[in-house]
């Protein structure tokens, strides 16, 4: 397979300039920019500053990537690595029963060379794309021509499509005696005149259906052997369906949302088509026009971004105005109970970014990544879905939330890609600098986890620990935190921590112990613990140390306060430098502080 990407930038004077590239990747990165093939757009197609929607299809001998949203027409990238418009505009020529001329194609009766044709004939034309096996709709019907043992002479035939280079042939059709149009001839473009006398019962295939091009839409998916599109800016409440097994052909079938809500996203989950609006969603089932039905799935759960939906282990993670939901194909489960206020606050202040958000299933890290601001300085909401996955017979757990910060260039897109002949999928991101980057990079030789000059820190802050009780004194001398140990695998990597002792609250001055570079030597931590080997708890540490001796780092802060918290930080050291830490917890010993206080009666307030 090859990889494809779309780019956009401001036009030279105004508007947007867009391109479509494909490249043939290998495991050897980087790929030279010249290996990205700037693919020719169909004539007259212009890029617009929207995100593209992709819907792939592999049929019998054809492979198409149907695309919508980022151009002023719906496009397809084909198995011949060509960009074509979805659908071919029908011949515009007027068919007359006379000699053709100007914009008119003539169809006249002439003397036959054989027995000729008898009957009432209505002629039509169509375009045929031989490379992609695509056909345009029929032209407008010609006049009824009464033939009596005659031949038909078609003249002044068009030799090229006015706006599409893909048609290679012109086709002539005749509807005989009120029947459906049937193919009379197909000739390569360039032919000016065709004379034929195909007997009525010897005509070729019947024209399948009355079809037309789809309206330009924003979103598309493949569902039940149809292409489904939505986001028609003229009729935003419509969902359009192609003909069955003819994904480019629109036969007029569409459904509307019940209350006229505009469609904001489409998704296919467990064989169901889900139509999202800003605050509600519908489920569409069925296969043919006879059994297609749409019913309200959730009247109060919608979706804010089509591109933010990601399928994970068969479930859809859906960004909504309430938070992130998991959709199983039949029911929604709220995943955001622990961060719904933060989500809504971030959405409130960054509406444009949330409604243009996009997501990826980062299978290397077991996370759902949604590119939208959050967490103060974060650019992506990261939901580790490991706890979400059901245990056997169990329920869905809450995902583990964190945030990623933006690297040097703001991420514009995600794509999960595998190299030709390969099956492993890696996550890539598109930047705002014309660069595509592989995520989750690790150099197996050096241990380095970045090769793009990104200097960033990983930080995490643990909850406040309040021993509880009422030890008396002021808020800073309630308890004395004597010793502190941290379990951090940190081979060859510096890490830092900031300890704060006291109460929560921004207005309170915190005595702090900051920046223990890489903790203290492992030997010291081991030594101290060994001296306390009689302590039952410390025995546990010794067991731990036995299996992972570098995990334990020991400190003696001897700071007082009613509680304490720690913020950990580790800095990526740059290109080619090994970076690895793994933190699994912390512990401390504490005793009554310096002021007079009562006996502890509880270990928790």
């Amino acid at each position: 397979m090859v990889w494809a990407c779309t780019t956009e930038k401001p036009g030279a004077t105004f508007g947007t300039e867009g391109k479509f590239f494909w490249t043939r990747p290998t495991d050897t990165l980087p790929v030279a920019a010249t290996e990205f093939i700037d693919t020719r757009f169909p004539s007259g197609v212009h890029a617009i500053a929207n995100r593209p929607s992709f819907a792939p299809l592999n049929g019998d001998g054809i492979s198409r990537l149907y695309m919508a949203g980022a151009w002023d027409d719906n496009l397809a990238f084909t198995e011949h690595y060509r960009l074509v418009r979805q659908g071919i505009i029908a011949p515009l020529q007027n068919i007359v029963n006379a000699a053709g001329g100007g914009l008119s194609v003539g169809v006249q009766l002439v003397a036959p060379t054989g027995s000729g044709v008898t009957g009432e004939a209505i002629p039509y034309l169509s375009w045929w794309d031989d490379l992609h096996a695509r056909r345009s709709p029929l032209s407008a019907a010609g006049p009824t021509i009464s033939a009596t043992a005659d031949a038909f002479k078609w003249d002044n035939l068009p030799t090229s499509h006015p706006s599409d280079i893909t048609p290679t042939h012109l086709e002539g059709w005749r509807a005989m005696n009120g029947q459906s149009p049937r193919l009379a001839w197909r000739r390569q473009l360039g032919v000016l005149e065709v004379t034929e006398e195909i007997a009525t019962l010897a005509l070729g295939e019947a024209f399948p259906d009355v079809v037309e091009k789809f309206p330009r839409c924003r979103y598309n998916v493949m569902w039940h052997d149809r292409q489904v599109l939505a986001g028609d800016d003229r009729y935003p409440d419509r969902v359009y369906f192609s003909l069955l097994n003819q994904p480019e052909m629109y036969g007029g079938l569409y459904i509307r949302t019940r209350r006229g809500e505009r469609v904001t996203a489409l998704a296919v989950v467990r064989d169901n088509l889900i139509v999202f609006t800003p605050f509600s969603c519908y489920i569409v089932t069925g296969y043919t026009e006879d059994d297609l039905s749409m019913r309200i799935l959730e009247p109060g759960i919608g979706c804010i971004s089509h591109h933010g939906i990601s399928l994970i282990h068969g479930y859809a993670f859906v960004p909504t105005h309430l938070g992130i939901y998991l959709f199983t194909g039949s029911t929604f489960h709220f995943l955001s109970r622990d961060f719904q206020t933060s989500w809504r606050s971030s959405y409130f202040f960054n509406q444009d970014k949330f409604e243009d958000s996009f997501a990826a299933n980062d299978i290397a890290e077991n996370v759902y990544r949604l590119h939208a601001p959050g967490g103060g300085t974060g650019s992506d909401w990261i939901l580790d879905y490991d706890p979400v996955l059901q245990e056997v017979g169990g329920e869905f757990g809450a995902p583990d939330l964190s945030w990623d910060q933006q690297f040097s260039s703001e991420t514009q897109s995600y794509g999960s890609l595998s190299v030709p002949s390969g099956r492993r999928v890696d996550l890539y991101s598109g930047g705002a600098d014309g660069i595509i980057r592989q995520e989750n990079y690790i150099n197996l030789d050096t241990g380095a986890t970045d090769d793009d000059g990104n200097l960033y820190s990983s930080t995490w802050e643990v909850p406040f620990f309040y021993p509880g009780g009422s030890p008396g004194g002021n808020r800073n001398d309630g308890w004395k935190f004597e010793t502190l140990w941290v379990h951090m695998l940190s081979e060859n990597t510096d890490w830092f921590m900031t300890c704060r002792f006291g109460e929560s609250g921004a207005t309170i001055a915190w005595p702090s112990v900051t920046d223990f570079p890489n903790g203290l030597p492992v030997e010291r931590s081991a030594k101290v613990i060994e001296t306390e080997v009689e302590d039952e708890v410390c025995e546990s540490h010794i067991q731990l140390r036995t299996s992972q001796p570098q995990a334990i780092h020991f400190f003696e802060p001897n700071q007082s306060g009613r509680g304490m918290t720690i913020t950990f930080r580790t800095d990526n050291a740059g290109d080619g430098v090994s970076w690895f830490t793994a933190w699994s917890g912390w512990g401390c010993t504490f005793s009554p502080g310096t002021a007079d206080r009562k006996e502890v009666v509880s270990c928790q307030t």
Binding site: M1, E8, I165, F464, F590
Partner: protein, 417 residues
């Protein structure tokens, strides 16, 4: 997870207490940014930035590396969509030639492919290290058929696993031998005609050659007692067969069951036609001459030379790509490998549309020409060995990518299937 704090606080002697959350205690889970931080239970973070969870542990987020070192489109271009394009039904450019890359320069014949969808973009697939007459190809009913000497073989396509070369995977014999034309020297041409639903084969036995068809079950002689066809191509709803100069004509077959009706069309003028390849372009049949510089045109009524390439040009192949007609030829003592282009809309010939030898002086021959995906593709001889080259997409007069020689004699035929 355990409730907040309580299970982890353990009294110690002397009033000191011990608190622990480390291994054996809690598994750490995600951030709880909402509400009062003091209510966040142990085992949950107040906030995590650029981290990942590993079954209760916290590790840093990994970084990135570039797919493209320098920008595409522009330094300010936003990459707004990334997708991999999975091609379901394989569509490769199949080639044949003499020898086999890395095995033999001149002995036997190979069938190879070029395909961007596969890990080896260009690789030999099958090597027949025997035989004397070369290979011809034809697709029929969803399979690739080979004419190897006087044998008809149906290729059994075997894709190599990731990281392995196809020839090592199989390669010496991955076909079903279907039929041997005893008494005939070789199969000279092969094509599918979907109007009639047959695989057409020209079978060479000098003046007693024939055209035989295969319908998937049986072999039927369609026309006997003729000179061997040198090429087939579809034109309108008919099939045209080209012949060498000794026949000095072409034959045209209407669709229908075998044996069919073939009409002989001789040149209208005094020129002799020695057809070696042909193609339909803008509703006319075009053939190239293996002896003269003539490109022939059959309009449906007459067969005439329509254009003469420069004197001493030796025509090699003809194809249609991107709305144009292309003719590959060599010329001169070097010789130069060139491509001519005909625009049927403006009726304009450009004899030296592309001179591959001018671009790369080591190129001395061009054996085949084919439109494949978005490029025009050529089989060349470079530095004495066969290789491939392809145009910069539709800019066929631009600077081509010419690959290094492949340790084989040539690439002589090609087809997309």
């Amino acid at each position: 997870m355990p409730p907040a704090n309580k299970p982890n606080v353990i009294p110690r002697e002397g009033g000191s207490r011990n608190f622990r959350t480390e291994m054996g205690g809690l598994e750490w889970h995600g951030s709880m940014p909402d509400g009062d931080p003091s209510t966040v239970p142990q085992g949950r973070l107040i906030r995590g930035i650029n981290i990942r969870f590993r079954r209760g542990r916290v590790v840093p987020r990994k970084g990135q590396r570039r797919l493209n070192e320098t920008f595409i489109h522009a330094a300010t271009a936003k990459v707004r969509g990334i997708v991999d394009f999975q091609v379901g039904t394989r569509r490769s450019l199949y080639v044949t030639g003499t020898g086999c890359p890395n095995l033999s320069l001149s002995s036997g014949f190979y069938l190879g492919y070029a395909d961007q969808d596969l890990e080896s973009f260009f690789a030999p697939l099958v090597y027949y290290d025997f035989g004397t007459q070369g290979l011809v190809m034809g697709r029929f009913a969803g399979s690739l058929y080979l004419g190897q000497d006087n044998n008809v073989r149906k290729l059994q396509l075997v894709d190599a696993p990731f990281g392995k070369p196809p020839l090592a995977q199989s390669g010496s014999a991955q076909d079903v031998p279907l039929y041997t034309f005893t008494g005939f020297t070789k199969i000279s041409a092969m094509t599918e005609d979907d109007f009639s639903g047959y695989l057409f084969m020209g079978v060479d036995n000098g003046a007693a050659s024939k055209i035989t068809v295969h319908d998937g079950l049986t072999f039927i002689d369609d026309l006997t007692g003729i000179r061997p066809p040198t090429c087939f191509f579809k034109w309108r709803d008919k099939l045209i067969a080209g012949f060498a100069a000794v026949a000095d004509h072409i034959r045209i077959r209407d669709e229908g069951n075998a044996p069919g009706t073939w009409t002989t069309v001789a040149p209208a003028g005094s020129d002799t036609i020695n057809a070696i390849a042909g193609v339909s372009y803008r509703d006319d049949g075009y053939l190239i001459d293996g002896t003269t510089e003539n490109v022939w045109k059959y309009s449906g009524t007459t067969l005439n030379p329509t254009h003469a390439l420069p004197a001493t040009a030796l025509l090699k192949d003809i194809c249609v790509f991107d709305g144009y007609l292309f003719v590959a030829y060599t010329i001169g003592t070097t010789p130069n490998a060139r491509i001519a282009r005909y625009d049927g809309v403006t009726n304009t010939w450009v004899d030296v549309h592309k001179d591959l030898t001018a671009q790369d002086p080591l190129v001395t021959d061009i054996g085949t020409l084919e439109g494949y995906r978005d490029s025009l593709w050529a089989g060349l001889v470079k530095g004495g060995t066969g290789t491939q080259a392809y145009s910069p997409q539709y800019t066929t007069s631009g600077t081509w990518t010419v690959r290094a020689g492949l340790s084989l004699t040539n690439i002589s035929r090609s087809m997309v299937y």
